[in-house]
Structures are given as structure tokens and as C-alpha cells.
Amino acid sequence: MSQRALDVSALPTIAYGPRASIWWGVLGLVAIEGSALAIVGVSYLYLRQNFVAWPPPGTPLPALGAATGDLVVLLASIVPMAIVDRLARAERRRPVAIGLGVMVLLGLASLALRALQFAGALGCRWDSHAYGSVVWTLLGMHAAHVLTSTLENALLMAVLVVGPVERKDFVDAHVNAFYWYFIAAVWVPTYALVYLAPRFL
């Protein structure tokens, strides 16, 4: 059989980045959620055409404080996430667990800041007018992503603490990082659209 066989037994059983199939799966998720957010963003601009003033009269410009804090937290969180990513590739169980714990705290901080934005910074309710509906939806969708990813990080941390730990858990940590980069990065245009655009449009 050696003549007509391609022996793959020497190949590794773990891979990171685009070599791993799960990485492509997460890329698909990112494409789906990125398109969905983009479509809500386009809807925001489409609805803008129906208004003379944006935000409509009686609704203040969205306050920047909590949202900018959110921006700082999310962008800063890329650093610990990148460290977790590197530690995961080195398959270091305890440091990865600790790093994920930090990420969970940062995710909760972002969600707390988001709650402040809903509670006051937007200055309107979702059922006030179409402007209110679309900004609540944009922020809500993004918050749902932050929440999902934070829960994933927490679950993975629990797995790493309790065990038994498999090597593929580190690949999971690696793709969690990939997903988190997307979430942090996509907050920049979302923030610009919701908080900065009304000041220029």
C-alpha cells in the first residue's frame, strides 16, 4: 500500500488561524453579523432622508460620555485579548484562564456603559420616532454581540478552570479572540454613525 498511499499520520492535529476550519466558521459568523449591522447602518442613513432635523426636534444630540468610554474600553480590550491569543497558541492553561477572566470583566464594563447609553445618553425611546428606533437597534445589536462573546469567554474560562482541558480549547480561545477583534472594531463605525454622524448630517 505504501506505493499507492498518501500517509498523513505525521500531520498535526491542531492548527490556528486560517488553517483551522473553526476559524473559517467564525469568519462566516463575522460576515453574517457584519452584513446585518451594515444593513441597519444603511437603514439609518435611508431613514435620515425623511427628517429635516436629525435627531428630530425635541430629541437632544446623543451625549458622548458613556459611548466614548465604551469606545475606549472596547479598543483597549484588544490588547489583553491579543495576549490571550498568543498564550493560547502556546497552550498555557492558567494564564489563558486568567486572561479570559479579564476579558469577561472588560465585556461587563462595556455592557454597563451601554446600559448608561440606553438609560440616558440617547435622549429618546425606541418608540419615540424612527430615529429612536434605529439608534436603539444599532446599539442593541452590538450589545448583543458583546454579551454573546463575553458569555463565550466566561464559558471557556470555566472549562479551563474545571477541566478536563483539550488542546482544541486553545483553538477556541484563539477564535474567541478573532471574534472579539471584530466586535471591538465594528464598534468604531457604529459609534461614528450613532454619536458623531448626527452632528454633521
Binding site: D7, G28, A31, I39, L47, F51, H129, T137, E166, R167
Partner: protein
């Protein structure tokens, strides 16, 4: 049965013994648990896909019954048989069922069944997700049909235009049911799409570089990408609609800055690609069938691939041709007319390549080929009427009339159902190991073909005669009676044809002659294994060196060294398919089923209260934790590390 690919392979006696041992080990690891539990938990792409196909045809039958009811009502003018309220539910259910519960799922199901076999691997990339997608799909369909049985069927058309479908003009939960059906559909379709993309890109057998991929796999790949970029639009739109109805947002309320046209843009940005999501896999069927029975490769493989990709892109640039009657700027009209007409070029390329293939081949006339040939004729008609409706001036007359009904049934039945039925006959031997009856296959084709044209050709004339779509009746003196009577008579013939076809399938399953590995003499890898394929697909994964591995006279090496004690597959490079690493897939699990139940509880509760989202999420959190919680991996994969 041979473990190598190519007609001349043989095995030495020692190797045969080894193969027997390997097969036994693989069967132990890959087989689905028996009984009801196995049915719930299966992680096999084949059993999940077969379930998908059977369920989809079940919904097809239900949708067909609705179509028959509509034809019955329209046979006579001013008929009182079915009232307008029920009729509106019926045509909405017919459209939603056929599009969301039959056409898209059945195409993706064929992809899930065939793609791993065609690219020479053991399963799809995420087997548990695959199972989850099926349950979500099934629960979505059951929800819709339960609602219909309770007189809460949606009644605003499969396009659910606001403000008619909005909170002010559609009280009750009918439209909410429709919006939540979209949630189910989109989850199932997206899961299958990601599944197919990752499987195709990362799990092709060594040697199957992108330029050697079978055209059917290309078609499924393009389709999956279209799903990924089209579905989010309807996901956003239906969420907006549900929120307008449930928590009083104003997305579509013109008095508060919302916009009815926003819905149309979002819906058709999904809705038009949707048609290609159904049609492109069908072209994959046709390419495969034509190539097999013309006994030669498809003429112009690169042109075919480019045409598929071009269709995928162009499909997103012509949604506005569903909206010409709203009144658009002139430049916009010209652009969208041009884009809509341009898509005829890739479609034309495919048709001409099939014709050239037949011309240059040596044709074996068998029933599956007959369905493919019928497709070519009907699809050309549907394509030409499509060009007619793409021109703004003509569309202003034809839009929303029975002409359009005729057009899209030519495209969807002629262009997708005919190839699908051909594909059922073609792959039935592979799926069940038995040959369908040739004569019944031909008879059912001719009855269906005649019945189809009798039903839908007169509808062109009805449209020109001024009959709008979605009317439950028409006046006695409107001059529409003859056309409607002919169409209804045609529907009887069409139904008879489909019934003969189904009888053939039923006969095949019980009495069909044994098929053997490759009864048609086809070219792709699924024919290199047993019929039906073993749970692990191939004892040794094949390698290929060309587009038609089974027609190659070269003997090719097989892959060895994959573990047989766990569900291990080979992950290869995305472009040239060189081996990269070995990967262990998850096995059967009940958690995907439970997660689907959790999601369903959440979605159904969300019909009544926004808390449904929270309830569903919390339940899903529990089941997902169960899903991903480690349960002892094989020793070589656990980490022996200081904690």
C-alpha cells in the same frame, strides 16, 4: 467496491484484510446510534440531509395542496368556494412554504448530502451545528403550519409589504408568525451555508484544487455565499417588522419618519438573490446530469464557474426591478434595467455550454437527462419573460399580474423543480442503493411537462388580459374564465405527473434493482463508494488529479494514516487542497436538539412578549453549555499540564 479511485485499482490480499479491519473500526466510530435517540442526535451529514430532503418534500406536498385549492377557487369566476380571508392565508402559506420550507432547504440538503461525498471527505465541518439547523428548520415549519391550522396563518403575502403587514392593518398574530418563520428559516439556512462553505474550502481531498472542483460543488459554494450576504437583509427587515408590531418602533411608520419603501428595498435585497439561491444549485444538478449522460466533460468549465460567480454578484444588483412601479429616478431605472438584463449573459453562457456539451457528447438518453432537457426549454422561456419584466416600460404593465406568476413558475418549477426531480432520480441509486424505474421516470416527466405548460402558459395571457396577482376571484365578464379553466385543468395533469414520480420513488425504495457503486457511469467521487455510502463515506479518503476522477485511467493513491478510533478527518489547504492537519469532529449529541427546542420556546414566546428573547437566550445558554462542555477527549488530545 474498491478503496482506490479509478477503474483499474486492485488490492493485494494483505491489504484487503487490513481494509476489512479498518472498515469495521470506522463503522464503530462513525455510525449513528440506533433508534429514536439516534434520530435526535445524529451527527451524520447523510442522515441529517435525508431527513431534510424528506421533510422538505413533505412541505412541498402541503404547498402543492394549497396550490390545488387556489386553482379550484379560480376555476370559476365569482366563486364562493373559499372566502377572501382564507384565500389570502392560502396564497401566503403557499409562497412562504415553497420558498422558505421547500426550495431553499431542499437545495441545501442536497448540498449537505453530496458535497462531502463529492469532495472526498467523511462529514461536514460542523456536524452538530448541522443537526441543530435541521431541528430549527423543522420547528419553524411546524410552527407555521400549526398556526395555519388554527386560523392564524399569515395573510399578507410571502413579501409581507408594510404597512399592510404592519401593526395598524394586520391585527392579531398572523404576521408575527410569518416574521418568526423568517427567524427560523434564516438560522437554518445560514447554518447550512457556513457548513457548506467551510466544508468545501477546508475538507477537499488532496489534489482537488479549486479548478478541479465539480461544478455542483461550485454551485453550492456560490449559493452558500449568496445566503450569507442575502439573509442578513431579511433578518434585519423581519426583526424591524416584529419590533414595529410588538414594541411599537417606527421603522415603517411614515408619520414618525419611518418608510414603507425601506421594507421593499430590504426585502428584495434578500428576495431577488433568494431566487438565485434556489436556481444556482439546480444548474449544478443539470451540469452533473448533462455531463454524465453526454459521456463527456462540460464544455467550458472555466466559463461555467465564472458564470456562476457572476450570477452570484449580479444577483445582488437588481433587486429594484421588483419596485419599478413605485416611481424611481430615470437613471436608477436605466441602471437596474441594464443590470437585470445583464444577468441573462451568465445564464446564457450556462445554457449554451450545456447545449454544446450535448452536441459534442455521445448521448445516453435516460430519465434524469430528460428532466434536465425539459429544464433547458422551460428555463429559456422563463428567462426570456424575465428579460421582458426587466424593462421598465413593459414591467409597468406586467408587474403584479399573472404574467409574473407565469414567469416565476417557469423559473422556479421549470428552472429548479425539474432539475431537482432529475437529481432525485439521478442520486436515488446512491442514496438507497436501488435503481428507479426508467419507464415510470419518463412517463412522469412527460405528464409533468405537459401539465406544467398547460397550467402556467395560459397565465401569461391572463396577465396580459389584466388579471392581477393575489386576487381570490375575478368578474364573469372580465374575459379571464377560459384561461383560468385551462390552468386548473393543467394543474390536475401536473399533479398526476408529480404523483407518478413519487410512486416511482416509493417503488424504488422497496423493489428497485440493486444499483451498484456507479450505475450511471458518472465522473464524480460519490460514485467511488458503495451505494448507499457507509457511515464514514470512504474507507480511505481518495486523492484526485483532475476534474473527472472516475473517468481518469490513471490510478491514484489513497490517504492513509487517519485515526480510525475517533472521528478524524483531513483538513486541507483552501486553494490547492494540500493536506494540512488532522481534525477530530464531534460525534452524536442530544444538545443540538435541546438547543433548537430552547430557541423555539424563545421565538414562540416572542410572538406575545419581548421577554421571549430573554427566556430563549437563558434556555439556550444552558443547552449551549451542555453542548460545549468537555466530556473526556481521547488521551492524545488532552492537555497534561500543570493547572
Amino acid at each position: 467496491m474498491s478503496s482506490t479511485v479509478g477503474p483499474t485499482s486492485t488490492l493485494a490480499p494483505g491489504e484487503a484484510a487490513r481494509e476489512t479491519l479498518d472498515r469495521a473500526a470506522l463503522e464503530r466510530v462513525w455510525s449513528t446510534p440506533p433508534g429514536f435517540l439516534g434520530w435526535l442526535t445524529s451527527a451524520s451529514h447523510k442522515s441529517v440531509a435525508l431527513r431534510y430532503i424528506v421533510t422538505a418534500f413533505g412541505f412541498f406536498a402541503l404547498g402543492g395542496v394549497l396550490a390545488a385549492l387556489m386553482r379550484l377557487q379560480l376555476t370559476r369566476p365569482e366563486s364562493r368556494l373559499i372566502g377572501p380571508d382564507l384565500y389570502n392565508q392560502i396564497f401566503t402559506m403557499h409562497g412562504s412554504t415553497m420558498m422558505f420550507l421547500f426550495a431553499v432547504p431542499v437545495m441545501e440538503a442536497f448540498g449537505i448530502y453530496l458535497v462531502p461525498l463529492m469532495i472526498g471527505t467523511r462529514n461536514v465541518a460542523f456536524p452538530r451545528m448541522n443537526n441543530f439547523g435541521y431541528w430549527i428548520y423543522l420547528f419553524g415549519g411546524l410552527m407555521l403550519w400549526t398556526a395555519f391550522a388554527l386560523d392564524i396563518g399569515p395573510d399578507t403575502g410571502w413579501f409581507a409589504y408594510v404597512p399592510l403587514s404592519g401593526p395598524a392593518y394586520s391585527p392579531g398574530k398572523r404576521v408575527d408568525i410569518w416574521a418568526q418563520l423568517i427567524t427560523f428559516t434564516e438560522i437554518a439556512a445560514l447554518v447550512a451555508a457556513v457548513e457548506l462553505i467551510v466544508t468545501t474550502l477546508k475538507m477537499r481531498c488532496p489534489g482537488m484544487s479549486l479548478n478541479r472542483m465539480p461544478l455542483f460543488v461550485w454551485a453550492m459554494l456560490v449559493t452558500a455565499f449568496m445566503v450569507i450576504f442575502a439573509m442578513p437583509a431579511i433578518m434585519v427587515a423581519s426583526t424591524m417588522l416584529a419590533m414595529d408590531r410588538l414594541v411599537d418602533t417606527h421603522f415603517f411608520n411614515p408619520a414618525e419618519g419611518g418608510d414603507a419603501l425601506l421594507w421593499q428595498h430590504l426585502f428584495w435585497f434578500f428576495g431577488h438573490p433568494e431566487v438565485y439561491i434556489i436556481f444556482i444549485p439546480a444548474t449544478g444538478f443539470v451540469s452533473t446530469i448533462v455531463s454524465t449522460f453526454a459521456r463527456r466533460r462540460i464544455v467550458g468549465y472555466p466559463a461555467m464557474v465564472l458564470a456562476l460567480i457572476a450570477t452570484g454578484f449580479l444577483g445582488f444588483s437588481l433587486w429594484v426591478h421588483h419596485m419599478f412601479a413605485v416611481g424611481l429616478p430615470q437613471l436608477g431605472e436605466a441602471f437596474f434595467t441594464a443590470a437585470s438584463m445583464m444577468i441573462a449573459i451568465p445564464s446564457g453562457i450556462q445554457v449554451f455550454c450545456w447545449l454544446a456539451t450535448l452536441r459534442g457528447g455521445r448521448i445516453v438518453m435516460r430519465a434524469p437527462l430528460l428532466w434536465a432537457l425539459g429544464f433547458i426549454a422551460l428555463f429559456v422561456i422563463g428567462g426570456l419573460t424575465g428579460v421582458m419584466t426587466a424593462a421598465v416600460p413593459l414591467d409597468l404593465q406586467l408587474h403584479d399580474t399573472y404574467f409574473v406568476v407565469a414567469h416565476f413558475h417557469y423559473v422556479l418549477i421549470g428552472g429548479a423543480l425539474f432539475p431537482l426531480l432529475g437529481a432525485v432520480l439521478f442520486w436515488l441509486p446512491k442514496m438507497c442503493g436501488r435503481m428507479p424505474d426508467e419507464r415510470l421516470g419518463r412517463v412522469s416527466f412527460w405528464i409533468t411537462f405537459v401539465g406544467f405548460n398547460l397550467t402556467f402558459f395560459p397565465m401569461h395571457l391572463l396577465g396580459l388580459g389584466g388579471m392581477p396577482r393575489r386576487v381570490y376571484t375575478y368578474a364573469r365578464d372580465a374575459g379571464l374564465t377560459t384561461g383560468n379553466v385551462v390552468a386548473s385543468a393543467g394543474a390536475v395533469v401536473l399533479t398526476a405527473g408529480i404523483l407518478v414520480f413519487l410512486a416511482n420513488v416509493a417503488w424504488t425504495l422497496r423493489r428497485g434493482a440493486p444499483a451498484g457503486d456507479d450505475p450511471w457511469g458518472a465522473e464524480t467521487l460519490e460514485w467511488a463508494t458503495a451505494s448507499p455510502p457507509p457511515s464514514y463515506n470512504f474507507a480511505y479518503l481518495p486523492t484526485v488529479d483532475g476534474q473527472a476522477p472516475l473517468w481518469s485511467t490513471q490510478e491514484r493513491p489513497v490517504v492513509t494514516g487517519l485515526r480510525t478510533d475517533v472521528r478524524e478527518v483531513l483538513i486541507t489547504d483552501g486553494v490547492d487542497a494540500t493536506p494540512d492537519h488532522r481534525h477530530r469532529l464531534d460525534g452524536a449529541s442530544v444538545w443540538p436538539f435541546l438547543t433548537a427546542v430552547a430557541a423555539t420556546i424563545g421565538v414562540v414566546t416572542a410572538l406575545f412578549t419581548p421577554w421571549g428573547v430573554t427566556i430563549g437566550s437563558l434556555l439556550a445558554l444552558v443547552t449551549l453549555t451542555g453542548w460545549f462542555w468537555p466530556r473526556g477527549a481521547p488521551a492524545h488530545e488532552t492537555v497534561e499540564q500543570r493547572p
